[in-house]
């Protein structure tokens, strides 16, 4: 069997049992996911719980404490002062309690961080059941039709079946720094990884263009999976703060150990006779001093507080990927920000309109169909309300064939609108259509007389062409849709102005 890059697109698809247009069925994808396993790189197996519990005792201080426990047990053995080695038992109990609490808290903090990480888990767009689906990268299976475009990280290895200017940076895999242009034709000979120009690989990045690929390998079977052992897993390094706190605790510890040695020596020197018991007692005192000096709970509390902080930031729509960023944020002096979409809404909105009749200003923001029409003297002329046919009436076509808009009189002006407003909002379509008919036949019993609300009559507009500084294309790109929306929003006013001039 030849490798996929030597096969034709059709042969690869046939072998993987996939349809280039429809992709796999959801059912089939689930079955394959069970069979092939998740599309993830298996690194080291998770640390078992008992080892994480044991790690709580790995702290040198806790070790010191265990020594103290042994000492006090030793004293009990010598003295037999009480029935039970109470002090040793108590120290042990406190240590166990603390380890258990630390274990639980750390596990919860880890869970919280993991949950946040899941929120930013990589996703992939695949065809399933003939539709585009955004799925977790870990759920991609062999045979999936992967849709890739500029900026995507590729989720799995795949044979390219469609490439439109597709360029991929494979630096992470091959070290090649320049992007590689991909095509669909089969290769004749055995090719090295960097020369397989009809394949895309997991872990690489689309720098330009778009395309489709049928997934040939997932998880550890991908090219990057083969070298996964060589890859250094990015360890979360200690943040400057954590490092400083460790430093402070160590310094405290060092000072105190010196003190303890001093004290033990003094006690031993002042005692006339040195017995095992006095040595043990002196040692216990020394250890107590060390215990006193070092903030045992600090590290655990720090971890928990940072994790809780990340959670709180997530509630405020910010997901932190690197813990150190939390600290750096507080000392930020400059924020460099994009404009479009970050400071602004990325929704083109009509602000004003100039006709031969004069200029009017529109208020309101974004796509929300609310706003006022202000005349040249800032006096409200009316309200803009639109009763579109659907939520996004302008997405599908360049111009809507018809769109019904009306300008209701502003508050304070004559001719009340409420009945009409209700009618429009409840059943925009039929209501508007009906009224259009009414306008044709001037007297209709179901409708209030025309004079009651002449300004509410909807107007049918069929715009013909538009031009702008950037020539609008008849596709559905969002800026164009936005322009259309905005333009149509107030086209009514324009048409009325026009009607007045060109009857």
């Amino acid at each position: 069997m030849k490798p996929p890059y030597q096969e034709t697109v059709e042969a690869v698809l046939a072998e993987l049992g996939s349809d280039p247009q429809r992709g796999l069925t959801t059912h089939e994808a689930e079955a394959r996911l069970r069979w092939f396993g998740p599309n993830t790189l298996v690194s080291a197996p998770p640390t078992p719980a008992w080892r994480r519990f044991a790690a709580q005792f790995q702290n040198p201080l806790v070790a010191l404490m265990l020594v103290a426990t042994l000492l006090s047990a030793g004293i009990w053995l010598i003295e037999r002062a009480s029935e039970l080695p109470l002090e040793a038992i108590t120290i042990l109990a406190i240590l166990l309690l603390n380890a258990a609490l630390g274990f639980i808290q750390e596990a919860r903090a880890e869970q919280a961080v993991a949950a946040l990480k899941r929120m930013t888990a990589p996703t992939a767009t695949v065809m399933r059941d003939g539709r585009r689906h955004r799925v977790l990268a870990s759920e991609v299976v062999p045979g999936d039709i992967l849709l890739i475009e500029e900026g995507d990280a590729i989720a799995a290895d795949g044979r390219v079946i469609e490439a439109i200017g597709l360029q991929v940076s494979e630096a992470a895999l091959t070290g090649e720094s320049l992007p590689i242009t991909k095509h669909t034709a089969p290769l004749d000979e055995v090719a090295s990884l960097g020369d397989r120009r009809n394949m895309v690989f997991a872990g690489t990045v689309v720098t330009y263009g778009r395309g489709r690929a049928v997934v040939t390998a997932t998880g550890m079977h991908t090219e990057v999976g083969q070298i996964a052992d060589l890859l250094q897993r990015a360890e979360e390094t200690a943040t400057p703060l954590q490092a400083e706190i460790t430093r402070v605790s160590r310094a405290l510890g060092a000072i105190v150990i010196a003190l303890a040695v001093l004290i033990i020596a003094t006690i031993l020197l002042t005692h006339s006779e040195i017995t095992v018991q006095t040595i043990a007692e002196a040692l216990v005192i020394g250890v107590s001093l060390a215990v006193a000096a070092v903030p045992e709970g600090l590290a655990a509390i720090l971890t928990i507080v940072l994790a809780l902080g990340m959670q709180r930031m997530a509630q405020r729509n910010v997901i932190v990927r690197r813990l150190a960023a939390v600290e750096t944020l507080g000392s930020a002096t400059v924020i460099c920000t994009d404009k479009t979409g970050t400071l602004t809404r990325n929704e083109m909105t009509v602000r004003c309109l100039v006709t031969t009749n004069g200029q009017v200003t529109f208020t309101g923001s974004g796509y929300a169909p609310h706003g006022q029409v202000l005349g040249p003297d800032e006096r409200p002329l009316g309200m803009v309300r639109c009763a579109p046919r659907s939520r996004w009436p302008f997405r599908r076509q360049f111009w809507p064939k018809t769109a019904s808009f009306r300008i209701a009189p502003a508050a304070g002006q004559s001719r009340a609108t409420p009945p009409k407003a209700r009618c429009a909002s409840q059943r925009p379509n039929s209501a508007c259509r009906r009224r259009r008919t009414h306008r044709a036949s001037a007297s209709c019993p179901s409708r209030p007389s025309a004079s009651e609300c002449p300004r509410c009559t909807p107007t049918r507009i069929t715009p013909i062409a538009c031009w702008s500084s950037s020539r609008a294309r008849p596709t559905c790109c969002s800026p164009c849709a936005a322009l259309n929306s905005a333009a149509t929003q107030s086209a009514h006013y324009l048409s009325r102005a026009a009607n007045r001039f060109w009857p």
Binding site: M65, E87, T90, I91, A93, I94, L97, L101, T120, P122, G151, V205, L241, V248, I267, I285, A292, A293, P295, E296, L298, I301, V305, M313, N317, V318, V320, R321, A325, E327, T328, L329, G330, S331, A332, T333, I335, C336, T337, K339, T342, L343, T344, R345, N346, T349, R351, C352, L353, V354, S365, G366, I464, A465, S468, A487, L494, S495, A497, A498
Partner: protein
Amino acid sequence: MDALAGQALRTLGVAYRTMPRQLDLTAEEIERDLIFLGIFGLLDPPRPEAKAAVTRAAQAGIRVVMITGDHPRTAAAIAAELGIADPGAHVVTGAALHNMDEQALARVVQTTTVYARVSPEQKLRLVQALKQHGHVVAMTGDGVNDAPALKQADIGIAMGITGTDVAKEAADMILTDDNFASIVAAVEEGRGIFSNIRKFLRYLLSSNIGEVLTMFLGLLLAGVLIGAPAVPLLAVHILWINLVTDSGPALALGIDPPAAHLMRRPPRPRGQGVIDRPMWAGLLVTGFTMAVGTLLMFDYALPGGLLTGSGDLVYARTLAFTTLVLFQLFNVFNARSDHERIGVDLFRNRWLWGAVLISLALQIAVVHLPVLQRAFQTASLSAGDWAICILVASSVVWIREGMKVLTRRFTAVR
């Protein structure tokens, strides 16, 4: 038309024509003999919350710089509307940046807040120039080409909605709503977390210093106090304080709600450690107060020494132990700041009060429950003893408050 462009509006002309019912027309055939109707002026409006966020950033000593690929006039208009730049402020374009050498760029980045027609590669240069000036730079980005700049920035921020995988991978933070206001909110949270870490450090370290001084001075002054070498506290007592009664309040300090003044202060200088001089001073004073108070209580219970009592060693240790725990429970409220008065937001953090009450209950249990009495070698205290312990322990509040008043005076005079 020029008037509209002058207001940084995009323009869109509209014309109409009555059409025959014929659909197979080419664009050229349709677009003629049109009757011109008028021109729209269009604008991508600022987010309503952005202006307030820019103001908050300015109050917090953070400069907001707008870097956009958009037209300079549009950029200037939006910047002026949001308060990022004064109306008529100079906008630096990408073309101008291209012609600048490093020195010129270094001068420009000091003052310029609006950049227009900038390419992603130039963003990287801007970040580097700002960092050279000692700035801590947060930078947003969404495209593939933004990744180097995001990596270079101290805090790379990727857009959650419009951002590409590559940008997210390179970033330190992701905005799930792509909203500028969230960045400022994150800065506030970041400052809050840092300030909270300082709070529990203040709390825990003063506890440790208090304990060490108690033990050390206790041994040193053993002759004066009781006439024989006897430690005022047992290892179990110290462990109990460090691991049990201290942890709840320390955690509660860690989740203190951010104080309002955090965003009215300039950013913390880069490289400044978490424990500064005023904090060390406070730690030492608090620790010393605690040690002296604890030892006095120890002495008070025992015959001989400065204060003469009539109790035995177990009773004296219980008094000392309880006093130290109570010292810490009072110290929680000191630990919230090196400068602010204790009354500020005293009741805002309910967890804190809950944790203090739980620790108090635990201490009462250790002193009065027979099982724990045997384990911790304690003896029951009378109501009077408790009252004295509380009185002595509260001294830490008065002393620290006095110190804060003096510091405030001193800094005010200077």
